[in-house]
């Protein structure tokens, strides 16, 4: 009897782990494309966005898989948000270090020289050309980071106010304020015709 129980326990634990891994696999499959698009809107670099999503997935699996699954979504987006913030900070530091050595960027790429002209980055102009997602991306780029995060988590990922607050590490009141201001600014940037 004791022998049977001692054999059953690891088996049961193994089965639980397998079930949890399958749930995590489904969760990641569900969020990965949207997470990638959100990262891409925030940093505008496809390869870096893929790396950031992968990092967020690894962190989610290795550190938070044991959390209740209804907490996974806000946790995952909090990790993603932190990775995006780290990317921006790292880029600033790297540029500062590079400027000390007199170079323009890691590969000699001059961001000022290659920055899009104001005409190219005008959301209203893109709307007129029928390029709606590009127009939306260009407009989102012009929002303050917190407003952009709140707007994307609420509307693109469908998190409710409390989940968004958890993901952003702020109060639910702040989330509402950020979202409202973001919507007003987007309306201003995209123009009446976008709707």
């Amino acid at each position: 009897m004791e022998l049977t129980m001692s054999c059953e326990l690891p088996e049961r634990l193994g089965a639980e782990e397998e079930t949890r891994e399958r749930s995590m696999e489904r969760f990641l499959r569900d969020v990965e494309r949207r997470a990638y698009r959100i990262a891409l809107v925030s940093i505008r670099d496809a390869d870096e966005s893929l790396d950031i999503v992968q990092d967020a997935m690894i962190s989610m699996v290795t550190r938070y898989a044991a959390k209740p699954s209804d907490e996974w979504r806000p946790l995952f987006y909090r990790i993603l948000k932190n990775r995006i913030r780290d990317f921006h900070r790292r880029r600033v530091v790297r540029q500062r270090v590079m400027s000390l050595f007199g170079a323009t960027d890691a590969e000699g790429y001059d961001r000022i020289e290659n920055a899009p002209s104001p005409e190219q980055d005008d959301p209203a102009r893109r709307v007129a050309e029928g390029d709606t997602m590009d127009a939306l991306e260009a407009a989102l780029q012009q929002l303050p980071a917190r407003q952009r995060e709140a707007f994307m988590l609420r509307n693109f990922e469908g998190l409710d106010v409390l989940e968004t607050a958890l993901a952003m590490g702020c109060s639910d009141g702040s989330v509402k304020t950020h979202c409202s201001r973001a919507a007003a600014k987007l309306r201003e940037l995209l123009g009446e015709h976008w709707q």
Binding site: R34, Y36, M57, V93, M98, F101, A106, M133, L136
Partner: protein, 129 residues
């Protein structure tokens, strides 16, 4: 906010979600494949025993390099540097010392090499090896 503004905001949010959903649905096959690979790799990490500090051997060198870099950055500033400069350098140090910045420190070899290359270019020395 007026009722009409509120309705306009809701319309805009609805339209934005629809445009975003469409862009997600139209992601190219290569990106979808890379995301699937990333997911597989992440799940593989979950099966490994947890490594608390996988790059332990790098830490003393990384800390020393970061401290030297921060000191050099402070030294580069003018004698009457504003407080903001020191603060920025300290923030850089904080970023450099965080455990996720080791990759940046590993790149220091590259920056050193780049600096040497630039000096060689300036002096017209194009010898190889």
């Amino acid at each position: 906010m007026s009722a009409s503004d509120s309705q306009t905001h809701r319309d805009l949010e609805k339209r934005a979600k629809s445009v975003f959903d469409e862009s997600v649905a139209n992601l190219d096959a290569e990106t979808c494949s890379k995301l699937a690979q990333a997911r597989t790799r992440a799940l593989e990490h979950g099966r490994r025993p947890l490594q608390w500090w996988p790059t332990r051997g790098l830490v003393p060198g990384a800390v020393a390099a970061a401290a030297a870099l921060a000191a050099w950055m402070l030294w580069q500033g003018p004698a009457t540097a504003p407080d903001g400069l020191e603060l920025a350098a300290l923030q850089d140090l904080e970023i450099l010392l965080s455990d996720e910045e080791l990759e940046m420190l590993e790149d220091l070899d590259f920056y050193t090499w780049l600096d040497e290359e630039l000096q060689v270019t300036e002096t017209g020395d194009d010898s190889v090896g």
